[in-house]
Amino acid sequence: MNATDLTALLPLLVMGGTILAVMLATAIFRRPGPVAVLAVLGAVLALAALWPARAVAPRQVTPLLVVDFYAIFFMGLILAASILVLLLAHGYLGRRGDPPEAFHLLVLLATLGAMAVVASDHFAAFFLGLETISIALIGLIAYPRAHGKPLEAGIKYLILAGFSSALLLFGIALVYLRLGTMAFPRIAASRAPGDVGWLAALALIFAGFGFKLSIVPFHMWAPDVYQGAPAPVTGFIAVVSKAALFALLLRWFAATGAEAAAMIQAAAIASMLAGNLLALLQTDVKRILAYSSIAHIGYLLLPLLAGGALGLEAVAYYLGAYSVMTLGAFGIVTVLSAGEDGDDASALECYRGLAWRRPFLAAGFTLMLLSLAGLPPTMGFFAKFYALAAGISGRWWPAVAALVAGSAIGLVYYLRIIVVMVQPAPALQAPPGPAPWLGMAVIGALAAVLIWLGVDPAPLVGILHTLRVG
């Protein structure tokens, strides 16, 4: 390992250092302010460290990690999302009254895991990163431990995360049994297509990913965990953990080729349709967003299937758009949640008349929902454009048809939230408390990005053109 390798790893090293510093600071200060500042600062430094890393990319660092433009793009996405979650959570934790120090630590740990996952080129690195995310997330989900719902959600996540890790490990073991390696490039070079053991390994690995990404039929945990976890944590799960895993799924696919594509297309179609149809039945905003994210992962599988340069670009743009709009949506739930009774403001009824009580938040939420529905002038529109373009150029007609049908169904529940927000407010309602300015600033920034890259996506598309796996 030489200086260039260390430069390539700089973002990960900075993040690791930040975690140690935050851990020490928590022991010294025993109050939230300095710890929060330190955590955000460390994450910003890690983000800045991407530039030196970019200068030496692409570079294989040890057999475990590869720092290429692809990994750097997703590290940037993950770090930005984590910083925003930390900012959103700041006011939220203050209002809830839970001791906040360990929260920052856990978010940073999960972020480090996610960064390792997107850069991993080897199953060992991937699995270590994945478990770092999962263990930190269990702590985050059950963070308000005096309340029942978060605890329940935490235990559900614990059991299913353990189960899916076991499936994944089994699959990895089978791969190792057949090929004697766990490094992606060597797997790609020596795989024996058509062999039953190989197919079983692929299926088990896909099932492991399926659980983490909540692809139908492995999606059952998502609505409960989304609903039970504190709102900023839900946003973190939906964005950081899913983006990291999806990025790695694409890397894995680039290595193995599109084998068992029929299985993946079936899972994609099932996710699009089941996610959207089940969302129709919900009356809780967090659950609606959970099912909508199941559907969005289904849409994302379409460019993954298509592969090639266009598929890669489509996945990257889609994940970017998905992160912005999902974080924005959960950010608004966070800002609205007073949290005194331990529950977030996630019942649909909490949003009745919001447009007239808090026009700024309602406008922001409307934008996020329109983007999730794929309407212009938002990033969501170009995300759908990309996904459809990739699907059509690969001639995956059944999945394209399912995407169209799913989007049409999706409109109903997105629109329902918007309609509830513009309806007259109930007469008996306490006047809104002062809005947390930090949260409002985050939402304003996300909305601005959503519109900017939705009207003029050229800058982002230019970056995406340079992405290559490996």
Binding site: F385, I392, A408, L411, L415, V419, D456
Partner: protein
């Protein structure tokens, strides 16, 4: 160079209207935009089809361009949009009392989307505006509409959006197939019109476009959103829906579906014309059966737009010019009828014809204007609709006499529903009484009637202008 400002002016004006003086800002914005449109026309080069054009790269990596262009057809529809916009603002002067600023913002943004649809020549840009006009319209219905507004708004959104998604798939498939053949990814109208397609592919793509436009038009059986949306929308919303949004469907057929896939459209014409004739008769018969004034007018729209569909697919120059004439006349006439219906509702607090009757006694001006607009709707010679319907029937007769004969039956039913409307609302024993029209309403409706008479008596300049944009059928 100035062409994008036609779209930007109402977008910016909408934001300004939200800040203060909404009604005056909205009027000034639309008037300025109208002046701009006419100035662009006046400054147009004398030769060639295109009066003005604007073409800049937008997302070069994806082959997207900001390509706007205006020919005679676009100009006519843009002017219609702005005129009806002004009438809609004026008509809601006293009707809208809540959230006035937001109302005018939403109204202007809808109009900006519609103007964009009439000008965009990059297929994806066109689609962007197609979607952009939708959301403000839905808000307009859902916030300021009548009793069943939420249901109507969601139904409207779902129908048009489902059609729109099919069109998006068709646009993308067309561009991608073109890229596979030529190596260039482009969404430009002129480039894609040259694309070489297999007959099988072209048939499916043509259907994707046709369905999106047929939902908006609306052609039977894609019409169920229309009666609800038109009935529940506030007056300005109904005027814009009937006067303009339906025209975007017809414009899409004229500009995109037929020219991009000429052979397939020709093969498909009998089906399209059959749908058109079905719409003419079905709309007219159902209009007669309605008790709700706005619902009645809504069904007459289905009938009138049936003529447009027949005219577009008849494959005859006269019929196509008639279709454009019918679009313009229907925009003014039906817009006027919805303003009359809005005035009735504002005064009587009902839209139910059974509770009206004998209104001529208490409001002679409103009743006489209602009569003029109703007979315009039934196609009385001397008014715009007659010219449109006559040309459509004449042109269709030359290529498909059977369809022309069946469509002509619609005129008979039109007479029945239009006269029944006048009879039930204005004649008979007085049931209700209310103050007559204000000077403001008189001025608005006088303008629509003047337009109809002009279209009816001296249509040639309009037809020439439209013909320059239609090309050979």
């Amino acid at each position: 160079m100035m062409l994008p400002w036609l779209v930007l002016t109402p977008l910016i004006g909408g934001a300004l209207a939200w800040l203060g003086w909404p009604r005056w800002v909205a009027l000034a914005t639309l008037a300025a935009d109208l002046v701009l449109a006419l100035a662009l026309w006046a400054a147009a080069p004398a030769d060639g089809r295109w009066l003005a054009a604007f073409n800049r790269p937008w997302v070069p990596a994806l082959g997207l361009r900001l390509h706007f262009a205006m020919d005679g057809l676009s100009l006519l529809l843009v002017v219609l949009t702005l005129v009806l916009g002004i009438l809609a603002v004026a008509a809601s002067w006293s009707e809208i009392t809540e959230r006035v600023g937001f109302f005018h913002a939403v109204l202007l943004w809808t109009l900006a989307g519609i103007v964009g649809v009439f000008l965009a020549l990059d297929l994806l840009l066109f689609f962007l505006f197609w979607e952009l006009m939708l959301v403000p319209m839905v808000v307009l219905i859902a916030v300021w509409g009548h009793e069943g507004r939420v249901y109507a708004a969601i139904k409207f959104f779902l129908f048009t959006q489902a059609g729109g998604l099919l069109m998006l798939v068709a646009i993308l498939a067309l561009a991608i197939i073109n890229r596979e053949r030529t190596g260039v990814l482009t969404f430009d109208y002129f480039a894609l019109a040259q694309a070489s397609l297999d007959p099988g592919e072209a048939r499916w793509l043509m259907l994707g476009f046709f369905l999106a436009f047929a939902v908006k038009l609306p052609a039977v059986p894609f019409h169920p959103w229309l009666p609800d949306a038109h009935t529940e929308a506030p007056t300005a919303g109904s005027v814009i829906l009937a006067g303009l949004l339906l025209k975007t469907g017809a414009y899409g057929l004229l500009r995109f579906a037929v020219p991009l896939f000429p052979t397939e459209s020709h093969a498909f014409a009998p089906v399209a014309m059959a749908l058109g004739v079905a719409g003419i008769l079905y709309g007219a018969v159902l209009a007669y059966a309605q008790d709700d004034v706005k619902r009645l007018i809504a069904y007459t729209s289905i009938s009138h737009l049936g003529f447009v569909l027949v005219g577009i697919y008849a494959g005859d120059r006269l019929a196509r010019e008639g279709a454009v004439m019918q679009m313009l006349a229907h925009g003014l006439g039906t817009g006027g009828l919805f303003i009359v219906a809005g005035a009735l509702q504002e005064r009587l607090h009902t839209r139910d014809l059974r509770q009206m009757g004998g209104l001529w006694a208490s409001m002679p001006r409103l009743a006489s204007i209602g009569l003029v607009l109703a007979v315009a709707s039934l196609g009385l010679p001397g008014l715009g609709n007659f010219v449109g319907e006559f040309l459509v029937l004449l042109g269709t007769y030359r290529t498909a006499p059977g369809f022309a004969a069946a469509a002509a039956l619609g005129l008979v039913v039109a007479a029945i529903y239009a006269l029944a409307l006048v009879q039930r609302a204005f004649h008979g024993a007085p049931h209700a009484a209310a103050p007559d029209l204000s000077a403001r309403h008189l001025a608005i409706l006088a303008a629509t009637m003047a337009g109809l008479v002009w279209f009816g008596l001296h249509p040639q300049p309009v037809i020439d202008l439209a013909a320059s944009g239609l090309g050979a059928p």
